[in-house]
Structure formats: C-alpha cells, structure tokens
Symmetry: D2
Subunit: 262 residues, 4 copies
C-alpha cells in the first residue's frame, strides 16, 4: 500500500506511524529483525538500560539499529524525577552527537510505571528551554496534555493502559478529548497488547502508536511486528475512510428491500 | 506481505480471508473498485436482489465481478423459510452453471435480520442432500453451529452482531467456544463496523470474515476496503504470532531492572 | 422499600423479582439462611440432584425450604434431551402433588451447559400440551425466545452468560430485542456474578433474575444473598425511574451556568 | 437492612455511603424530596451557584436541607484556579459558621469539567494549611491522588467519567490502583449514570459515591434517588461478601455432577 500521507513530528516527515522500543528481546539480532519487520522509522532506546556507546567493548545497539537508517529516540525509562530525566537526556545528546528529538518519561513508581505528571511538566519545561524536541509520555488527562503542548512539546504520548500491561485502550473517551484539541501529534504510548489495539488507536484519530512489549513478548516477535505494521496502516486507512455509523438495533438489510426479485 | 497459509473451504484454497458482499454500493463500478481494493477472492451475491442474468437487458453484476476472476457465492438474503432458501439456491445453481458453493441465510424477521435457526438447519439438510456445499450464516450458538457442521455444512458463519449494525463483536466468548470445537472453517459474518472489528475476529482465531455494509457505507468505500484487507491480514498475523499475556496491573518495565546503567 | 408492583408469572403475583437456586451450598441450613436473606419467593430445585422425597430417610430439602412458604420450581438440570426433561418434570409433578409451574432446561453439553434449543422447543411443546406451566431456560436468540412464547411458555429465561461463569451480561443487545417483543415475563437466568450484574439486568427491563452460583459460591453467601436482593430492587427502581441520557462528551455542569454568583 | 459498618471521613462516622448534590432540580422542594429518598447524610452545595444566605430575601437552600439534619459540604464548582477555589471556600466557612469539611474542585475547562490537577494540588495545600478538611475531586491518576493524600486531604474523589456524562466507570483499573494504595477514603465523584454504575463503584471497594445529575435528571428523580440508595448498599454488601471468581468458559454445573439421581 502506498503511504498517501506521512507523520510529521517537529517538522520532519516519517513514512511509518508505528514507533517501537528495543527492550525485552532475546538479543540484538532479534531486536533488529523485529524492528525491520515493523517498518518503523523511529526507534526508542532506554538510555539508562541500553548500551549505545557508554560502555566501550560491550555490544552496542547502534550496530544493530544504525542511526543512518533509523531515527533513534532516546528515552528516560527508569527516571522518577525531572532532574534524573533531564540529566539522562543531556547524556543522550552527547552520545548521539547533538541529536535533539527525545522521549521524556518520568515515572511515578516502579510498580505501575504510571507517569508522574508534575515532574514530567517540570522536565519538559527545562528540556524545551535547552533546545530539546520533546515527545512526552503522559497520562490521558486532557488538561495536562494541553499544558505539555503549551510548554512546547512536539508530541504528546498518552498511555492506553499501563506500560507492559497489554490491556489495550481502556479509556477511549479521554483520548478523544485530547485528539479533538491537540495541535501537535498525539501518539498512544504504552498498553497496546495486540494488533486490534493498535488499529483502534489509529481509528480514533491518533497520529501514531509506540509499543515495545506487545512485539517483544509475543511468541513470535517478528511475525507480531509485521502484524502491528499492518494494523497501524489498517487503522489509519479506516480513520481516513470514515466508518459507517453504528446502529445498535434496527438492522437494515445490505440491499434495499424495494425491487426485490421474487 | 506474502500469504504464508491459505483459507481452505470445501477443499479449495483461497489467498484472501476477507469475503465481501455486493449490496448498498452506488453502482456496479463502485462495487468493482471496492472489491478489487479488498483483495477478496470470494464475493457473495444476493440472488433475490441482484441481477446475475435473470433479467436480460439490465446491468449484470457478473460483468463487473466476472466469475473468471472471483468465486461467486450466491446467498439467500431476503429468505424467511427453508423452502424459499432452497428454491433460491436451486435457481442460483442454474444461473451459475452448476456452481455448488453457496451461502445459506434464513432470516427470522426483516427488522433484526437475525437468523431463524430451525429453518436454517432444515434448509442445510436439504441442500447438503442435493449436493450443495453450504456455508451457513447462523447465530453464535455453539450447540447449533455444531449441528450445522454435523449436517455437512462446509463452513459456519456466526454473526458478530446484527447485519448492518456495525456493532462489532459483541460476544467473543461464544465465538471462542465455537472456534474451540469446529472442524470446519468459522467465518464471522455480519456486524463488522470498522477495521479493528475485523482484526479482533481474526485474533480470536476465526478463519475469515465476511462483510458488506462496513465497506459499502463508509464515506470512502474503496479506502475502507483497503483498510479491511490490511486488518484481516493484521489480525491473522497477530493470531499466528501469539499475543503477550494481559497483565491488568503489576506493570513490568520494558527492560529488566537489573543491570541498569546509572 | 415498599414493592410498588409485583412480578406476575402464569397469573400469580410474587413480591420478589429475584429467583434463586439451591445447589452448591455447604448444607441445607446454609441454603435456608441464604434463601431467606435473598427474599426470594420462588426457589428452583434440580430434581435429578436434590432429594425432595425420592429418597426416604435422607435429608429432604423441603424441610429447609417448605412449600408452604416458598414456590418450589422444579428444574431439569442435568437433562440433555427433550425426553429426559419431560420425564423428569413428570416425576417432579408427582413428588410435588400436581404442582405445574416448572423450569425447563435442556442442555447442549456438560462443559458449557449451553441450552440445546431444538430439544428445548420440543420439550416445551410436549410439556405445555400436558398442562405444565413452563418457564424455559434458553439462549439469547430473539427468534427462538419468541417461538418458546408462541408454544405457550409462561416465561422465557435467556442466559446472560454461561451457567456458573459469573461473567455477567455479555450481550445486552440481544436481551433488548427479546424484551422489546416478549409478551411473557423475561428473566435472566445464568451468568450473574455479582450485584451490579443483577442491577444491569433489571435496568434493561427484565422482569426478574434467577441465580444460584453467585450467591452460593460467594465467600459469605448470606451476605451476598442480601446484596442481590438490594441489587434487584435497585435495578428495578432505576428502570422505572428512567435514567438520564448518556453524554459521552460535552459534559454539562450540574447547575446552569447562567446566573452564577461571583 | 441494618448498616453494619459506617463511612468515616475526617474522624466522623456517617450511616450512608451515598453523597448527593443539589443542582439541576426543578425547585428546592424536589431537591428535598430526592435527597430524603437517597438517604444521604452529606449533601454538597455549589457555593457560587446556590443561595445559602449570600442573597438575603431569596429562597435559601438551607431551609430545604437544614444543616441540623444534613452535613452540608460546600464545593467550588465553577472555579478554574486555585485562588478562586480557596476564596470560595473561605466564604463558605463564613456562611456556615466555621464549618471546615469542604469539597475542592478546580476545573480545567467549562466544556469537559475535567479537573485541573496542578491547581487542585496547589489549592489543597493552601486549604489544609488553613485548617480545612479537604475532600478533593480529582482525575483517576494514581500518582496524583496519592499526592493529594500526602498533602493532607481527608478523602480523594476520582471521577468515574466526565461530570454530567452518565457514562459510568470507564477505567476501573486506575480506580483499583488508587484503592489499593489509599489510606484515606476513596469516593467516586462524577460520571455515575444509573444504579448499576454506583453498585460497580462500591464493588470495586470504594468507600462511597457522590452524584447529582444521575438523580436530578432521571425522569423520576425521587424514585432514582431510592434506586441509588439501594444500589450503593447492594454494591457495598457484595464487596464485603466477596464475589465468586469469574470463569469465562468451562462452566461448572450448579450442583456436583457426582451422585446424580437418575
């Protein structure tokens, strides 16, 4: 299928609306094969957990996922304060030669991985002032996502459900409000469990979907990566096509009843 | 995506797991363009409503959807008794030169279009005895779908929700029981509203999906047809890939917490 | 709360819209205490599993649940054919001195306990002809429930979900169609798991709810029986009160915004 | 039913776990009759919209809902900043002779009435310092509700869905996390549409439910108030009773299959 329109973040266009993580794979080779099957252009990397050059002599993710082919999106997974997150992304910028597009996540606690929104807002403010292009993982709070946008974030990334839960889109109503108001791209980040979850996110009008566990912990990650690629395209096409109205009852036959051939 | 395995019905293999109807389009040209975009191999036609040769001199659907390229699946939409349905399919067999693969539907009333299952069972018995290969539209009753299979139907086609309702898959539990037991293909027929509905059906393990209204009444039917093609493939791939387990709570981080780079 | 209107089945009025079973309790004393807490007037008894006099010298349920205080509703749990069910209810009529109100259930298989609808229809026909007042456990098929009514059943009892599953009301849409058309009482039978499930059934407009496992297998069955009594009353009152319309979005403040005190 | 345990907020015990508002009724008489039917002890009043003495010579709500019989809970509906909310509650304290139990709500915008959480946190801090006992309307964010608790709020009141929407409990998972962690009472505030919604909130383990529109905009508000009273009691009893486990499939018969009477 020819992509008829592209995802634009911070002025740069991408062919794929599926963004993927790099955690939980068996090895860098499986990571590479899954990411290739996903068709993703943007690949997010947990700077505090993944070697992208900090540890000389150890396997480097960037050998498997070269920045020449992929947009590497450093993230702050594992950070629980604004300070930690800011420090981590400054390090990432150094490691990645001045790269400024980053994914901010400041977590509330290690058990739910729910975002700490006040710390997220504080970190976003600092990072924007330092010239970062901030994509912000956040709750599905329509007031706070708007505040992130006003602070200058280039994208907001509300969770569909808890990170790693695979519970899908629990509250489509909040997402709808966010989508109705946002002027920056809205990407669902966290909670996708299977292909239909990704399709639903796109059908709601989301600009993209970011996922990791749903692919990495599928029985066959490469095949699931392909399923997700198709699902994101399917959901986007369905959104653009404009679905039929739901009619809970009063079913109408598929053909007009007048003029039936008896 | 290369199809790695095919749908087999009555001993014949098909590349696509998406079956489509021909009703509710503006004209035969729109019908043709949507069906081509859907990638469907099997196209179902309401014999009592559509001209496939009964009315000489009027536009013939088979000029737009030629039997040389598509498997035409005559159906009995608009029939409310076993007798009517049997008579209609005998006529179809004549019109289609002995073609024996048919879709049986015997409706309970014109308002819900819910199947009349006793009449469906009666018709299936007669049709199988007369050499038809019967794909049967039915309720999601796991006992009755098994009876249809025992009568010799080559596929069972439970509704996801009412015909033309677009309500999606209301009762996945009944479908699951049917899928766990059936030895013939199970295709969801009726109720699909958008791409994710089709993906969900396939993720449950259905062998295929049949739809009409969701495509024909989308704002852009051709684009929705393409969305449905992708969604059916996405759902099938996700089913084969084996999804991650759902974890409502106790989210686990996308990377192991041991060995974090501080 | 004073009951403002009563449930009428086969011409007889009952104060309570909650019907209960007698299985799965620890002993007849617990059965008695739970049933008293439930406020039920009609108590259903599995004739093939429970001693109501067939076995002289063994504990008799009717000593705990005396027919002088409760309407005993014999049921055919464990029957898989129309013949078995009819035979069982003839026996019940003898044991209960000509009692004619019965609950028919003919099951499809021991694993799902889903009803076998053709056998149920056949048994209903025979039983009505023999003068029984038949309340029929059935699927939520709106065509078949109407056929049961046309055969002369005094109530139809569609399942909410599988017997003993506690999954609640899976398909409210089918129930709604049944309720819109039925002229006999419609009682949800099977699938209730907790109090809100019973309330939802009543809010849909059901005339009553029958349950067993949800009470008997609660940690505190007597307390759950009381919860169910309250829930059925709550749901009925809410149905009669007429709920507010849902407004997914565009929330309106609880008070008019004009004339605010600044 | 005798209440076996009571709701305790800020050291004071209440018989009823249902809290109600006073907006949207036709007149103060209907307000009074509905509130009496609800059995509520705590009645919340929008200080900026309702006359409780600010306007001499106009009808005063406190004549219908006398503070001698009800705990009046002043709220800040219509406030969009922490300053506004604080000012409004200082006024309320004057009007109500030093009454310190208040409901804080700081809204994000007039269209969704979603809470503005940073402003809510700021107001809570000030109000607690000034000796108010603050019950805080909030989003269902488990990190922020904990912060409200740490600031000294005596209860947290997450929304079930948007104020006035009647959409019920959209995200039970977030509520569950909040309930698992909170040491102060958790009351669902906003979004309840009908009786079963209230029962579900209580079954999750909430300490209480606050509602207004669901009662005031029912066709028969007094009857709906009674339904809500019963539903809250039903849900609480069901929670305490401990529901049966859900078994999506593999239904078990209501009685042991061994020892069947043939």
């Amino acid at each position: 299928m020819a992509a008829t329109e592209r995802l634009v973040i911070a002025g740069k266009a991408y062919d794929s609306r599926l963004l993927v993580g790099t955690g939980k794979y068996q090895d860098f080779d499986e990571t590479r094969r899954a990411i290739e099957a996903s068709g993703a252009n943007i690949v997010t990397v947990a700077i505090r957990r993944t070697n992208i050059g900090q540890k000389a002599g150890e396997p480097n993710l960037l050998d498997a996922i070269p920045p020449s082919r992929f947009t590497i999106l450093p993230n702050t997974a594992g950070c629980y304060t604004a300070d930690d997150a800011v420090r981590t992304l400054r390090l990432a910028r150094e490691l990645l030669d001045g790269h400024s597009l980053v994914k901010l996540e400041v977590l509330g606690d290690p058990k739910t991985l729910f975002p700490n929104m006040p710390e997220t807002l504080a970190a976003a403010k600092t990072l924007v002032a330092e010239g970062f292009q901030v994509m912000a993982y956040c709750s599905d709070d329509p007031i706070l996502t708007l505040q992130l946008e006003e602070l200058g974030c280039v994208a907001v990334m509300p969770l569909a459900s808890l990170i790693g839960s695979g519970m899908g889109i629990v509250n489509p109503w909040n997402l709808q409000i966010i989508l109705d108001r946002a002027k920056v791209p809205v990407l669902v980040d966290a909670g996708i469990g299977t292909a239909s979850d990704a399709a639903i996110a796109m059908e709601l009008g989301c600009d993209g979907v970011l996922m990791n566990t749903a692919i990495a912990l599928a029985k066959d990650p490469v095949r699931m990566a392909r399923a997700m690629k198709l699902a994101v395209e399917a959901g986007r096409e369905a959104f653009l096509a404009g679905r039929m109205a739901k009619k809970p009852y009063e079913a109408s036959p598929s053909s007009p009843t007048s003029g039936m051939i008896e």
